[in-house]
Symmetry: C2
Subunit: 103 residues, 2 copies
């Protein structure tokens, strides 16, 4: 293998999935479509609001999730997967299968 | 670790892959078979010995990797995937594909 490790595809993917809660946030969006902040709070038992906010921002910066304002008075936002994010379904599915059998 | 055991299969898998370097360590073992500590040090550019030691211990405790003594004078150990660990190839492959395309 000639590629330098920090640039290897697995490292790049691991950098996104390698933070606690990110895989579960993506799973929520894959299973249920666009979600509001409160939906994640309700579904991901034990996640603190500051942690959730931090993770959503990180996923936005990685181009996996996008934030959309769907109402302006009062302003309401929802989060959805980008095309790049939807393409993570194979990884999340493989994680789910492995975890169900061996985790 | 006093953290509550996450109950969903994706969380359990993410706890293993969700630490920096673990996915790359598993990839090394999938690609090359049993490896010695030094082999990982050489292949994973930038990993500190204490970090590598910590990650290998974590993967052993998770039942993904096992340590085997293959020579007693002087003692030499190598690390190999358990059956449970080999079954992670689907996840690692999906991570590699996604990272190559979108990462």
């Amino acid at each position: 293998m000639t590629e330098r490790l920090p640039l290897c595809p697995i490292s790049r993917t691991a950098m996104i999935l390698g933070s606690r809660w990110t895989a579960q946030i993506i799973r929520e969006l894959l299973d249920h479509g666009p979600r509001r902040f409160q939906d994640f709070s309700d579904a991901l038992e034990g996640i603190a609001p500051t942690m959730l906010s931090n993770r959503l921002k990180m996923l936005e910066e990685s181009g996996v999730v996008e934030r959309q304002i769907y109402e302006t008075h009062p302003p309401r936002a929802e989060y959805k997967l980008t095309d790049k994010g939807r393409k993570m379904s194979g990884i999340i599915g493989a994680m789910r299968d492995w975890g169900a059998k061996y985790g």
